[in-house]
Symmetry: C2
Subunit: 387 residues, 2 copies
């Protein structure tokens, strides 16, 4: 969502290069890249924290492959395990008692680890992995790119009707449309992965402590530290956890220690804010994030309300601050991605999410100046002149 | 190679938990774990560097997914790219002019990225990946664990006789036996990956700047920072590089920034030592490592020479400080791994490397006290009493 780029750099299907991400001077004909959810919106908050969350590592620290040999997840730093338990206790969004934490290089790696764990040992044919459309656009490519004999992408869960075992991914709040979700296939041979990347107070109300077999979280969306590539899974069954650990071992021989320590420090900062409730203090991170996201959504809704060419899905009121805007072009049947592109904005078209191309997603968690430009450019669209 | 563990924790085929890695008090009946090449041997060197390579990162630094959008490898920090170019220039072990650097979560991830790149798009059947035995024991499992339709493990390159395209991995100096290697299949449809994890001055003489299509290096073996999970590939063909980048994007959406910055700092420290040659100074990192490894090998050879039950391969003289010892039991036909185990040492048996079980590998890059215990225990083996 952040960043600009020359049109020539946009490569379909790849993470587009976000040229001049740190540049504040936008030229009027530069393309506003709103494809990726790069959560730089939270930078100012962390800048204001000063030294509290500064990480210092000396040259001889953490050289070993091993982090904690008492833990089945031998590459998980104990500090990070503690920080993860604390933040979930503070927020109340997940049950951790008697659960196993598996760490990964972002929830991207862990999602694949979970699919591997739930599809091993191999059955007579690859197990179908499904998710209800509109689904996160990366699921199909992450599942498909190695042509695994263990699993394959099965498409929209709403229309899945194959017999036998399957894996359903439940993404809630859902990327791209922010809806609150439950499993939809609901058959006895289903194995579930709950992707809770956005189940944090700044995006959605926390309606209870989630308690599912495999739950995925990621630092990227929780605190905005996408560059650290830290994700974690909370897993009920130790055998599933062990297979996920095996995946991370085969795939990358563990997870880098420096990022784990930084993630621990960042999460601890938030937990400390919770512990200090009652003291005179400014708003905590999630309150700050909630206020900021609500403000952006208010501005965006206002602009879109006046827009002749886009509308927003009507989210249930309790879920109103999602990190992406899933817009619908109207009058219908216009290609929303093309429409955005003709006004120098890059969004991701509905087809990537398994739905009609009249939809497109743009991210709203980028830097302030990019968000303002988004508002400005949507306001400037006069009608259906691009048809 | 480092660390001890209770027997019960040794799980065949998995990275064994190295209990008490940081403990200096070894009980006489503790098991000496010499399976993994955890390169903690270099810790004292980095401890002595003081603040020179201390990494400091504030809470708001490097939050974005992006590192350098001018680079096709958009998740590669420019500081690390520079540091990699400088260290290879200083050491003279690889050609980098007009080459692309691809960064990965350890060379483990990059090896798989290279195999993916060289096997895509899919052919009519999975392409065979081969390496001359004894080969690195992780190759077969990394290739096989997802049952990919793109590639499959093809075993010992020496006996490979299938027609059509294939991928050969050339590991030089070779893990486990330290030999200097070239490709052995040499057919026109071969695609090569050169794994140069150990092609650094402390392990082997640098006989020239290597110049191959895909060359893999890793911080773990170069400087000993295994916990950082930083590997890099030097790639000739931009299309191959792009596919490797795509793999890392699908697999983990980039590589953590903190570890990249630390790797840059560590490598720069070594390059600065090179720049300061001529000044009055102590030995540089590679000289230190070379001296230390040579000393260990001298001691080990001495102990093994007196041993009734083990011998060492005769390496060519120019390659004498390899990080692992690939021992042969004698009189022959004894299971070397079992023999070690019966004397409270865990090594990795020859079968894992595609050769006879009379061989076993033990790592010699662990901490001082572990290495000394290895010498002590091998010295104490009196004969063939375990048969």
């Amino acid at each position: 969502m952040v960043g600009f780029e020359k049109v020539a750099n946009g490569t379909k299907g790849s993470l587009p290069s976000a040229k001049n991400t740190n540049t504040t001077n936008r030229s009027p004909d530069s393309i506003l890249n709103l494809v990726q959810g790069d959560p730089t919106v939270f930078e100012p908050y962390w800048r204001n924290q000063g030294d509290k969350c500064t990480l210092v590592i000396s040259g001889s620290d953490f050289m070993s492959y091993y982090s904690d040999c008492e833990n089945i997840c031998w590459f998980l730093q104990p500090q990070l395990a503690d920080a993860i338990r604390n933040i979930h206790r503070d927020v109340g969004n997940a049950v951790l008692d008697d659960r196993h934490i598996v760490i990964g290089t972002g929830s991207t790696q862990l999602f694949q680890a979970a699919v591997y764990a739930l599809s091993s040992p191999a059955g007579p044919e690859p197990i179908s992995v499904v998710s209800a459309a509109p689904y996160y656009s990366r699921y199909p490519e992450e599942i498909g790119f190695l042509s695994s004999g263990l699993y394959k992408w099965g498409g929209d869960a709403n229309t899945f009707d194959k017999d036998g075992p399957y894996i359903e991914v439940v993404n809630s709040p859902n990327n791209p449309d922010g809806t609150s979700r439950d499993a939809v296939v609901n058959r006895s041979e289903g194995r579930l992965i709950h992707d809770f990347a956005y189940y944090w107070p700044h995006y959605a109300p926390i309606i209870g402590a989630a308690d599912h077999n495999v739950m995925l979280f990621t630092l990227s969306k929780c605190t905005g530290h996408a560059g650290s590539r830290i994700g974690w899974a909370i897993v009920k069954d130790i055998e599933v956890a062990k297979k996920m650990i095996k995946f991370v071992e085969f795939n990358s021989l563990g997870v880098c220690k420096e990022s784990q320590l930084r993630a621990a420090k960042i999460l601890e900062t938030i937990s400390n804010e919770y512990s200090n409730l009652g003291c005179t203090k400014t708003e905590n991170f999630f309150e700050y994030g909630q206020r900021l996201m609500a403000e952006r959504w208010r501005k965006l809704r206002e602009v879109i309300k006046r827009s002749k060419v886009f509308s927003l899905p009507e989210y249930p009121k309790e879920c109103c601050n999602f990190s992406g805007e899933f817009m619908e072009s109207h009058p219908g049947n216009m290609d929303a991605e093309k429409l955005l592109r003709s006004h120098k904005m890059m969004g991701k078209g509905g087809k990537c999410f398994g739905v009609d191309s009249k939809y497109a997603r743009v991210s709203v968690v980028g830097r302030e100046e990019d968000f303002n430009l988004l508002l400005e450019r949507i306001s400037a669209i006069k009608g259906v002149e691009t048809e």
